[in-house]
Each structure stands twice: as structure tokens, then as C-alpha cells.
Subunit: 188 residues, 2 copies
DNA sequence: CCCGAATGAGACGATGATGTCTCACTCGGG
DNA sequence: CCCGAGTGAGACATCATCGTCTCATTCGGG
């Protein structure tokens, strides 16, 4: 009987990513509930968006924790992070395209997560496994962008869902150029 | 005296990318014109968005032509394409996040451009310079996503504008992993 | 210099979304 | 079984935005 709050937020994120101008009524129907019920749980559109941000930040934070990005080599940590973030890719895509997060001075909680990701790429550079001519800030942005792009591509059936984490990780870590290392992998 | 139509569309794209729910009044102010004038040039919001799509498709088409992507090795063609697309990165970011383009059956003009880009990556694979385990469709999506991410990062001063094309190209083509080839480049 | 085309500011009604409320219904725990 | 919490549907006033219009002003070409 009671409404599944997380389910509503997930549906809302998916809809708003596709159609940012969706009305509260459309959001409610997309979540399979009545508009009145939606208003009972979220005071208004702003409150809904803020709850969306909070949930996204929380979920991505959990992904960061679960990936244990401080352990092992940096490349492996990035792969684990992408794999852990895959289930919340939709939320992350929404967060990434949601600018309001940055408008009123950068968001506190998000900043903390962003710093951790940047630190991961910096560690990779210091360990000698990541290029130095691409800044951690850019690699971080690219990670978000590629995860969002991947989520979007999966939604539109351009990429199979199961391939998404690998596609993102391989591109971010390995790039598109064929090299000796790639060569070996393909002969198996 | 007369309004610079392209300038209005560029400002509109930049604003709508940041805030998709921006009102016509906000768009007009962002472009530095009055709301009445905006309505004189574009019948309504829909017409404005359609003009935005048309301009974006036209500009990206010109970038594709200027890059001569059919000539030379595929990697160089990708670099040229990114360089040519840089001035219209904002428009491209808008196109990419704009879903309406795909709702009523995929857009005609866009499809043509999309096919050309995919063909470029396919050619790279056939020539043996691009990996075969990343599909042309995904590489195409990644190209759009990274250009959009780059434009966004530049707008927020996270990346210098002049570095943007190189950052996108190096990541897409070379990836983040340091390898022998990258090693040599860095010793200069 | 002057006239006309184009613009900005603002008024106006129409329209659609919003937020609140009521009421009947349903489901599930006690 | 029954009661109450939670829900869906809809009515309602309010509000923001839209699209159109008018009018004074400005800019630039002839």
C-alpha cells in the first residue's frame, strides 16, 4: 500500500533525464501513482529535485565505498567504481546534467565525492599508470560523462546493458587505439 | 539594429543546456534582447527548439565536411573532427541532451550525420587502428558525450578552452593508461 | 538629415501547471 | 473481521508563462 519512495525517485530521474520539462502529473503517472500522492511525499517540484539529488549523491557515495577505490592499483579501482556505479548510472546521468547542483555555490555533499574521484585519478598518475597530460579534473568529468552517455545509450538500445560497464571502462582506461596490449587480449 | 539570429540561438542553446526549464523571458534576456523580439523571430518555444536543432545539425555537418573525415588515417580524421567541432561544442551538447530529436522517430538530418561518424570509426577498425571490441555505435556516442562533457567543463572553468579538443581527442583515442607510446611523447 | 524598419518595455487575456483540499475506496495489521 | 492509514481521482483557486498587441524609441541607410 505504502509508496516505494526510492522507486518513485528512480522513475522521476529516468523521466526527467529524457524530458526535463515533464509536469508533476507526468512524473506521478510515470511512477505509477496519483499526483496527490506525489505531493504528499514531496512538497513540490523543487523538493522532489532536491530529494533526487540527495538520493543520487547517497547512492554514488555507496558505490564509491563499495568499490574500495583506495585499494589496489588505480586502474582496477576505476573498473570497480564503474561496475559499482552501473546500477545508479541513470541517477548519475541526472545529477550530471542537473546543473542546479552547481548554481548556488557548489554542493557540499557532491564536492566530497568529486574530490574522492579526482584523488583516485591523481593516485593513478603518481603510481605511473595514468597519463600526466590529462588532468584529474578532466578525467573525473570524462568518467561522469561516459557513465551518463552509457546509461543513455543503454536506454536507447544502442548498447546492451551488460556491456555498458566494460565499454565505459575500456574506453576510459584503454582508449580506441589498437595497441600491442589490446592485440593480445583479442587473440584469446 | 537587426538581431543576430545565430547569436540568439547560441545563447539559447547555452542557457537551455544548463537550465532546460528556462522561460522565454530568460532566454531573451540571456541573448540580450526583449521577449517581444524573440517572439518576432521564433513563433514559439517549439519553433525555437526546432531552429536550434536545425542550426546544430547544419553546423555539425559543416564540421564534418571541413574535417574531411574520409581522408587520411582514421585517428587523424577523428582529431580533425574534434577540432572542427570545438566551436560548435555547445550546440552539440544541446543536441545530444535534446531528446525530442529522437522521440518522433529518429531525425532525418541527424541520422545522416550520425551514419558518417559511425562509418569513420568502422573505417578505423577495418584499417586496424581501432579496437574491435568497442562498437562503432558506442565510439560515436562516446564522441558526442565527451565533446558535450568538454563543452560543459569549459563553461565551468574546470578545463581551459584551448585544451578542450586535445583532452577529448587524447582520451577518446589514447585513453588514460600510460603506455610506451605515451611514454615517448612525454620525454620530449 | 530624415524616414522607416526594427527594437524594448509593458499590458492583456488565455492557457496550463501547481498546490491544497475533499471524498470514496482499498489494503493490511491487529 | 474491522478499523484506520494511505491512496487515487478529481475539484478548486492561484500563479507563472505564453503569445499577441500597442506604443514610444532608436538605429541606420538613403
Amino acid at each position: 500500500m505504502s509508496v516505494d519512495r526510492d522507486h518513485v525517485l528512480r522513475e522521476a530521474a529516468a523521466l526527467l533525464t529524457r524530458k526535463a520539462t515533464a509536469s508533476m502529473d507526468e512524473i506521478a503517472k510515470a511512477a505509477g501513482i496519483g499526483r496527490a500522492t506525489l505531493h504528499r511525499h514531496f512538497a513540490g517540484r523543487d523538493a522532489l529535485v532536491r530529494a533526487l539529488e540527495d538520493l543520487g549523491i547517497q547512492q554514488f557515495g555507496q558505490a564509491l565505498d563499495a568499490a574500495r577505490i583506495e585499494e589496489g592499483d588505480a586502474a582496477g579501482a576505476v573498473r570497480r567504481l564503474i561496475a559499482e556505479a552501473e546500477p545508479v548510472a541513470g541517477m548519475l546521468a541526472f545529477l550530471f546534467t542537473e546543473n542546479q547542483l552547481y548554481e548556488n555555490g557548489t554542493n557540499e555533499g557532491w564536492n566530497r565525492l568529486d574530490t574522492r574521484v579526482q584523488q583516485l585519478f591523481r593516485r593513478g598518475q603518481e603510481e605511473g599508470s595514468f597519463r600526466l597530460d590529462l588532468t584529474p579534473a578532466w578525467l573525473t568529468e570524462a568518467l561522469y560523462g561516459l557513465i551518463g552517455t552509457g546509461a543513455w545509450a543503454v536506454q536507447d538500445r544502442r548498447v546492451a546493458a551488460k556491456d555498458m560497464p566494460r565499454m565505459v571502462a575500456e574506453l576510459l582506461l584503454g582508449g580506441a587505439e589498437r595497441r600491442a596490449e589490446t592485440e593480445r587480449r583479442m587473440k584469446r
